[in-house]
Point group: C2
Chain length 172, copies 2
Amino acid sequence: MKYGIVAFPSKPIQDEINSYRKRYDSHYALIPPHLTLKEEFEADDKKIDELITELKHIANDTEPITININKVSTFAPVTNTLYLKVEPKQELYDLSDKMHTDKFPGSRTYSFVPHITIAQKLSDDEYSDIYGSISMKDIQLEDTIDRFNLVYQLENGIWTVYETFVFGKEYV
Amino acid sequence: MKYGIVAFPSKPIQDEINSYRKRYDSHYALIPPHLTLKEEFEADDKKIDELITELKHIANDTEPITININKVSTFAPVTNTLYLKVEPKQELYDLSDKMHTDKFPGSRTYSFVPHITIAQKLSDDEYSDIYGSISMKDIQLEDTIDRFNLVYQLENGIWTVYETFVFGKEYV
């Protein structure tokens, strides 16, 4: 089964981000706005049970993280993807790194860039137009990440949350 | 904020149910296939923190529940909604009842009928056509519910999972 690990921002932030995604993000209906901590990976039922134990340990050892977004950035020319850049913070890198030890299947395709995608799979013309207009907007968002979610993908492409892991001494 | 409490079936069951929902359910893109334990209700941040404590207690005291689906049924003439009937099981009623004590905001609009919606907001003609064809299908599904989810609704109508509550002595 195909899994991933993401953090959803709070509702007001999701609503604002969706106002951009609605028009430009082909994944708009597949998953709410999210910061990906670990890209999709394959795991069977036995493996995922082991990983869940590990994810509980990680969540227990993590404090809530304040995130700040101040600009739109791009993965072009690698892909015509626009994203809200989450300001680099060591805690985010540490959190994502803990999900990329050899206990976990799946390795990084690219180095970790904390971000929330707002537009993807754009043609070159669309990309230029949209980047031009959206990069002029004054975007200033602050939020607190206090949990992450293990999600799996259905056959129709939509992601379902399998389990939420709240930071702090939550789990036995 | 608008919250609800639902249980998602396992992935293979969700995939099968989505094959029906895709064509007939206007909420197909808003939330994966689900069994609603508590209909939408309003709660502020303070109240939801209290409810989460209560939901942990409820989850701790609940054992996994096997569910069986053997037929399509309907809420007509109240609404033109078709659903997979989840065979009545006392544990499901008990679970839902615990979310309708006076500790919780929101009361039942209808008495609790365990079900997974596959078609809704149909015109009378659509309803007759679809019910006719779908009720002839031989639907036999079995699954195990071992968690429920507190979800909230975004402005675009899509539901995001706020927290998952796994049954058993999971939470401190």
